[in-house]
Amino acid sequence: MKQQRKARGIEEDYSRFFFKPTDPLINVVEKLIFSPGNRLVYIDEGTKKIRGIITMIDLLDFFIQEDPHPN
């Protein structure tokens, strides 16, 4: 699959699949724009378990509010 991905021109940059809750919104948006699966995964550093996920739709919900605001 690795060779197949290379043949398909998909680079092996897996950081594109992840985010952290402490990432600024702009970083998450930029990553999501270029994320192959339209979603980013948040993994607990200690347990390596998946804690959450964020999708384009989640961000769309936020941006189409009348006045996007953190609170």
Partner: protein, 156 residues
């Protein structure tokens, strides 16, 4: 077909994509009824980045955990490394998602399967993969990439 006309507002297109869980929507000319293009969520995000006012841009600097209306902690649909590839296909279709994380018996993240991986199997007629479990179908895909994924993630 779910679509918007060229006369509709961007917000209308966004609401339709939101309602139907679509990542792209066709745009057609109302008079000629011809499709003139497609609008994707990527296009919308790019528009927001480029067109937010200086005041609105402040929101981009906020840490995502501090934005209350964005829920990042939730139950995530996953597949097990021992699941059959066809089960992954079912999950992708049923939940209408573009990718699904793969976990092991300890529920540790070990990889991700994209719709494009499934398309690749179909396009190249590798149908025997579908009857195998994920790990057996391509052990290199998960085991070799695991450390790279972790390295890539933790080095951010």
């Amino acid at each position: 077909m779910i679509a918007v006309t060229t006369e509709e507002r961007l917000i209308d297109a966004c609401l339709k994509m939101r309602k139907e869980k679509l990542h792209k929507i066709a745009v057609y000319d109302k008079e000629s009824q011809l499709v003139v293009g497609t609008l994707t969520l990527r296009d919308v995000m790019m528009f927001f980045i480029k067109n937010f006012t200086a005041e609105q841009e402040e929101v981009f600097k906020v840490e995502i955990e501090n934005i209350k209306s964005i829920d990042i902690i939730k139950n995530v649909i996953c597949v097990r490394d021992t699941d059959f590839v066809y089960h992954t296909l079912e999950v992708l279709l049923h939940y209408r998602v573009s990718s699904v994380p793969v976990v092991n018996e300890k529920e540790e993240y070990i990889g991700i399967i994209l719709k494009s991986d499934i398309y690749y199997i179909v396009r190249n007629s590798h149908f025997h993969y579908v009857k195998l479990n994920i790990f057996l179908s391509e052990p290199k895909f998960l085991s070799n990439s695991y450390q790279k994924q972790m390295d890539g993630f933790w080095s951010i």
